[in-house]
């Protein structure tokens, strides 16, 4: 027997191998157009938050509160790399593009998990990655766009993974790097730079999607003669930070891009006196020219490393008896912001703390928060403040459900931080924090009952409708809402991926995964079946918080293994 059987099985095996090896160029790839980006099909996830408005909401409802208990994994795929897997899998008509740390993009069959192609950037050997991650690829026509930690923007052929063009944005050796998913608007690929800890001057820049040619560049710190320049002293503007390391949102009707900006540099405000425009702000930009139409600064003279880079959600809000074209931003500075997009610019509507803070005493009528000097880091003294450097909500995104009208926030409660500010010269080649890294603290508040808190807020009333507390974990992952009245989120150190009832907060389903989830869940559909996908791969700041808590919180999970896996779920039939 045996020989024949062996030969047969060998033949079968080689057939399988051939089919895997034969996976390659994607047939019948659907070109991505302006119209499709404006109105993405319900089954697709082509933007960072699925739609330009940044709501993180899927209209799919095949998976819903009644059947989510039957959600099971249908395929998984190991990415082969460690560190923080933060990107949403991007879906275009049955094709999934997954980006990972180390500048890798994997194209997969979204239904079967079979690989089409894989691109892996060869990173320079002397690159130092403070934030070894990537948050997704942008799509346009038959190309996709990857922003890299060695500060390049790369266009790949979506069908083959071959490089179409590769443009150097700035120099990684100067502390410039990119981690965000590019925003694509009308054939322009828009990115913003990281580097707020290196004394950079932040910027947002647009490239021609077809050629990689730079079209415009808007600095987030105004130069001499520009409005707002007088909010800086001396030459501080040259090195004042205000990085722009998250994808913007886009108001299609008003043709306005909204982009968040990060911390002023170095951290202690005393080292850069003034309001420091346009750090810790949202900017309204014309996508054709990069010209700034308006701005709102969430707090002045940042001293806490509170990047406000997570772009605001665009929501038509019924409030105070009228429809407000709002911008909603649960801030790293612990304030839940409701702003209004008006023809004359961005206006403050309301703001309230969504976690405990001892930093803000009040907010004035124009939306300027008033800091308590006792909790504002300065030079030569140790100052403690709540929340911690990671804020009430860091970069992971909140979501908005069009069905419930609620905003779902991955918040962190009961964390405080502190450091001793130092005035240090910027030494080329060194990070520039304005404190010793070893001095930075993360401390649970005495008597804290929990840390991570998934919150549901009614932005119309400012009322917290429900919350789910995590007694032994931070919550460090983006939230996605679906029309099935489900809220999906990972973000905890027990490696769980969870679904909650959007109306009540009831935990309806959970699945333990390979690692912790810092990635963004998505919903998509292929051939009439709805799927939920997420990358599990712990790292970067979720890991830093974890390391900082070990020994301070009894019973804290201290083993969160790293290594990325794409998980795809569907309802068991």
């Amino acid at each position: 027997m045996v020989l024949k059987q062996w030969l047969l099985s060998g033949l079968l095996a080689s057939t399988c191998l051939v089919s895997i090896a034969a996976a390659g160029p994607i047939e019948n790839y659907s070109p991505v157009t302006t119209e499709r980006l404006k109105n993405p099909e319900p089954g697709n996830w082509m933007h960072y938050r699925r739609t330009y408005d940044g709501q993180g909401y899927s209209t799919l409802d095949q998976i819903n509160t009644s059947n989510v208990k039957n959600l099971v994994p249908v395929w998984t795929f190991s990415t082969g790399v460690v560190e923080g897997h933060q990107a949403p899998p991007i879906i275009n008509n049955g094709v999934m593009f997954v980006s990972t740390p180390e500048g890798q993009v994997i194209a997969l069959n979204a239904k079967t998990g079979d690989e089409y192609w894989r691109y892996k950037r060869q990173l320079p050997e002397d690159l130092f990655q403070l934030h070894p991650t990537n948050r997704g690829v942008g799509l346009w026509e038959d190309k996709l766009y990857l922003a890299t930690t060695d500060d390049h923007l790369v266009a790949l052929d979506a069908k083959t993974g071959k490089v179409v063009w590769d443009t150097k944005v700035q120099d990684y050796k100067k502390g410039q790097y990119l981690t965000l998913m590019p925003l694509v608007v009308d054939g322009k690929v828009i990115v913003g730079g990281s580097g707020g800890e290196f004394g950079i001057r932040g910027y947002i820049v647009a490239y021609d999607a077809n050629t990689g040619k730079e079209l415009w560049r808007t600095f987030t710190i105004p130069g001499p003669g520009e409005p707002g320049h007088d909010t800086w002293s001396g030459d501080d503007w040259k090195t004042g930070g205000a990085p722009a390391w998250m994808t913007g949102t886009y108001d299609v009707d008003a043709r306005t891009v909204y982009w968040g900006t990060g911390n002023a540099a170095p951290w202690p405000g005393e080292t850069h006196p003034g309001d420091n425009l346009y750090s810790t702000s949202v900017l309204a930009l014309d996508p054709d020219s990069g010209k700034m139409k308006s701005y709102f600064q969430y707090h002045q003279n940042d001293s806490w490393d509170w990047d406000e880079v997570d772009a605001p959600m665009l929501i038509d809000l019924q409030r105070d008896g009228r429809t407000i074209k709002s911008l909603i931003h649960p801030g790293r500075n612990a304030i839940f912001w409701v702003l209004e997009r008006k023809p004359e610019g961005i206006k403050y509507v309301a703001g309230w703390p969504f976690v405990y803070t001892n930093v803000w005493k009040s907010i004035d009528a124009n939306g300027k928060p008033i800091a308590d000097p006792a909790h504002k880091p300065g030079v030569g003294k140790r100052v403690e403040f709540c929340p911690s450097l990671w804020g009430g909500k860091d970069w992971p995104s909140a979501a908005y459900s069009q069905k419930t009208g609620l905003v779902y926030v991955p918040a962190n409660e009961n964390f405080c931080g502190g450091f001793t500010g130092e005035k240090l010269p910027l030494v080329p080649g060194k990070l520039w924090l304005g404190t010793k890294p070893e001095d930075i603290g993360l401390t649970p508040r005495p008597g804290a009952t929990h840390f991570g808190e998934l919150q549901a807020w009614d932005p119309a009333t400012g009322k917290k409708v429900w919350s789910h507390n995590f007694p032994k974990s931070q919550l460090f992952g983006s939230v996605t809402a679906t029309a099935g009245d489900l809220i999906f989120v990972g973000g905890t150190n027990d490696r769980m991926f969870r679904a909650f009832h959007a109306k009540t907060g009831e935990l309806l389903w959970e699945q333990k995964t390979n690692s912790g989830i810092v990635g963004m869940p998505i919903a998509y559909e292929v051939d009439g079946t709805q799927y939920i996908a997420v990358q599990s791969g712990w790292g970067v700041d979720a890991q830093r918080i974890q390391d900082a808590l070990v020994g301070k919180v009894p019973g804290l999970e201290n083993n969160v293994p790293q290594g990325g896996v794409v998980w795809v779920f569907a309802v068991k039939k």
């Binding site: 990655q129 803000w360 070893e438 930075i440 390391d547 900082a548």
Partner: protein
């Protein structure tokens, strides 16, 4: 604070007796060779660039190189064992070609941590590379290439160890810079030293590949 929207949480001013925090964390620190923010700043780049372009400045440390201080008041001066305090803290160093006097700081991968320890504390392998208790390692973390900058009590012990504050990896210089905490996948490359009562010199090339390696 904000009145109309005041919700279930409120801002109160309490002195939350915060324990002075020891942790490390979000942070970062770095050492790349040149870091300037923008094109606008280029005019102020220091003239050290020229030095970094000299022949040999990019080459890894070689047998016979002397070590010089990388920073501080004595930056550029040759390091002797007696310049170092037993038990640390470590000093940061560059290798210097003794023939051409070129300091090999053209690549950040050449930066070195030098620390003097009690010889009795060193394991056999480490002792074989040490010069009078002085050991040297690459200053570049093998995890994601950050500079290893801190000298702190180990997360799991009493002794001071090297720590990379980017992602919290810790390395014990007494045991060939073995990883004792954090995500680093392997030891820091060791740089064998020699001394003949004079300056410290490099006895052999780095043992192991310097810097981070891609997964595949």
């Amino acid at each position: 604070m904000c009145k109309s929207d005041q919700a279930t949480t409120s801002i109160t001013r309490t002195d939350a007796e915060l324990v002075t925090a020891m942790c490390q964390d979000p942070t970062r620190r770095a050492l790349i060779l040149t870091a300037l923010a923008t094109g606008a700043c280029l005019a102020s780049v220091r003239p050290s660039i020229a030095q970094e372009d000299l022949p040999g400045s990019n080459e890894r440390p070689q047998k016979g190189d002397v070590l010089v201080f990388a920073e501080g008041d004595r930056a550029g001066e040759v390091i002797k064992p007696q310049d170092l305090q037993t038990g640390g803290p470590p000093v940061r160093a560059w290798p210097r070609d003794p023939k051409t006097s070129v300091v090999r700081k053209g690549s950040r991968l050449n930066e070195i941590l030098v620390v003097k320890l009690e010889p009795a504390e060193l394991d056999e392998e480490t002792r074989s590379r040490a010069a009078g208790g002085v050991v040297a390692y690459s200053a570049i973390c093998v995890h994601t290439g950050c500079p290893v900058t801190a000298w702190v009590k180990a997360a799991g012990g009493d002794k001071d160890v090297f720590k990379c504050v980017c992602h919290n990896s810790e390395f014990d210089p007494r045991q060939s810079a073995q990883v004792v905490f954090g995500p680093a996948p392997r030891r820091l490359p060791a740089l064998p030293l020699a001394t003949d009562a004079g300056p410290l010199t490099v006895a052999a090339a780095f043992i192991g590949k310097v810097g981070a390696q891609q997964s595949r």
